[in-house]
């Protein structure tokens, strides 16, 4: 039993995802996925799919509309495009996570930072390559969750990725409400503060609490 896992039970998998790398797994209904920010302030880009029908997938919009708030934290129900619960945030050491900022891509990096970033690694590369293992492709990528990323919206609508609120060892835990395919990009971005300008590994622990 890991000290950083927030639920008791049997650990069914325990992986360290290297900096800049993707990760994926099906988390069975009732199991809990704990994501540990090992180095602190490491954005973990995340998409969810119903494991038995991947056309039903995470919807940031349905999640935001249903809870009436843009931030994700304990109690947030992560909903699908059909409005149904895929996972629920059952524990959160940080307090808020982003789901409006989306994933970095080589293409959007050219807009945000300039064309010199066109050939840098980006989350969409990880999503595409890791998703392909499950038969997913370009059309399956939608607005995602950014665990540990801090995106405030100011009164006039100005928003941006700013310095994170996380720290080494902080954890967020998600209970699967249905069998859920979890697709992750451990964000490689080095042009904004989402990873403290230094991508670091994260740990993914799946626990069967029964």
């Amino acid at each position: 039993m890991s000290a950083t896992s927030v639920v008791d039970g049997t650990v069914t998998s325990d992986d360290v995802v290297p900096a800049r790398a993707p990760w994926s797994a099906v988390v069975p209904a009732g199991h809990v996925l704990s994501i540990v920010d090992l180095g602190g302030n490491q954005a973990v880009d995340c998409l969810l799919y119903h494991a038995h029908d991947t056309s039903e997938r995470y919807s940031a919009a349905d999640t935001i509309a249903a809870q009436g708030n843009i931030f994700l934290t304990t109690g947030s129900v992560l909903r699908s495009c059909e409005g149904r619960a895929l996972m629920t945030v059952v524990a959160d050491d940080v307090g808020r996570h982003d789901t409006i900022g989306g994933a970095c891509s080589k293409e959007s990096n050219t807009l945000r930072y300039g064309h010199h970033t066109r050939h840098q690694h980006a989350c969409v590369e990880n999503f595409l390559r890791e998703g392909a293992k499950w038969g997913l492709g370009k059309r399956d990528l939608v607005s995602n969750i950014n665990w540990y990323m801090n995106v405030p919206v100011e009164a006039d609508g100005t928003l941006g990725i700013v310095d994170g609120l996380s720290a080494p060892g902080l954890t967020v835990a998600l209970r699967a409400e249905v069998d859920t395919l979890v697709l992750v990009s451990n964000c490689p971005q080095v042009n904004n503060p989402c990873n403290g300008f230094d991508p670091t590994p994260v740990r993914m622990i799946v626990t069967d609490p029964r």
């Binding site: 405030p152 919206v153 941006g160």
Partner: protein
């Protein structure tokens, strides 16, 4: 004896319906639209349609087309999805649409960005100021809970059901119905992240968009997901489009921000290489 018991009778019955005019319908040809916008020649109109509350429409428009949406009676809510018509896997990306311009609220000058770092459409003008890029549209489940039904042909259709039908008509499917933006019913985000529904700016509000690439345009006119009213409330939406040119160097929009300039450069780069 029924007049439609024979093929001739049935044909006469069907043909007698031609020429009926209702409020919510397309006008063909679009140039027959009675009141073209000021400065627009009737002959340049390419789309003229009124979409009733709880319904949808779809069209492919040429690069450079100007598209004007008008909330005729003050309770329309236009949920919009746009795709590059040449390669519809390239589509509206609402996250990049708010992140890249550093602005959550849609208004004049705001680009609607694709997932490929290009501008699909630009908001040219906006007399409403009540829009949303965060909440998407309604699901069948949500409408069942809110209104008792969410089927496309029921009394309170969900936006996703209608956008899905529109998508299917272009050979697209459920995987292509990504988060949408909506016009004419606003939201605001509090410091704590909480959403407040600001509703409509009233009758006559309009939003004018420019297609920067050839687009598949899908529009559902349904209540905003956060509309607090107990009854399913949605009034007619007018859509007019006319020929025009995409944003070009020298246009103030082109250099409105460093991000906008690079987005227009990427769009022009694609169009030049692709030959559109």
């Amino acid at each position: 004896m029924s007049a439609t018991r024979t093929t001739a009778g049935a044909r006469d019955h069907a043909r007698a319906q031609g020429g009926t005019v209702v409020q919510a319908m397309p006008t063909l040809p679009a140039s027959a639209w009675a009141a073209p916008p000021e400065g627009v020649a009737a002959a340049d109109l390419t789309w003229a349609e009124v979409v009733g509350g709880g319904n949808y429409t779809n069209k492919v428009v040429a690069r450079g087309t100007t598209l004007r949406l008008t909330d005729l009676e003050g309770d329309a809510c236009a949920h919009l999805l746009v795709f590059n018509a040449d390669q519809p896997w390239e589509r509206l990306n609402v996250a990049d649409t708010v992140k890249v311009p550093w602005q959550a609220y849609l208004g004049a000058g705001h680009p609607l960005l694709s997932d490929q770092g290009r501008v699909l459409a630009t908001v040219l003008a906006d007399s409403s100021g009540r829009h949303d890029a965060l909440c998407g549209t309604s699901s069948r489940l949500r409408n069942e809970q809110r209104y008792g039904d969410g089927e496309a042909q029921g009394p309170s259709p969900a936006g996703r059901e209608l956008l899905l039908l529109a998508a299917l008509k272009h050979g697209l499917g459920p995987r292509d119905v990504a988060p949408s933006v909506s016009f004419f019913q606003g939201i605001r985000v509090g410091e704590d992240g909480a959403l407040a529904f600001t509703g409509s700016a009233g009758p006559g509000g309009s939003v004018t968009l420019r297609a920067e690439l050839p687009l598949v345009v899908l529009v559902a006119n349904v209540p905003h997901p956060l509309d607090p009213r107990a009854s399913y409330t949605c009034s007619p939406l007018e859509i007019l489009a006319w020929r025009g040119a995409p944003t070009a160097p020298g246009d103030p929009l082109w250099t409105a921000s460093p991000e906008a300039e690079r987005a227009f450069l990427n769009t022009a780069d694609y169009a030049t290489a692709r030959g559109v």
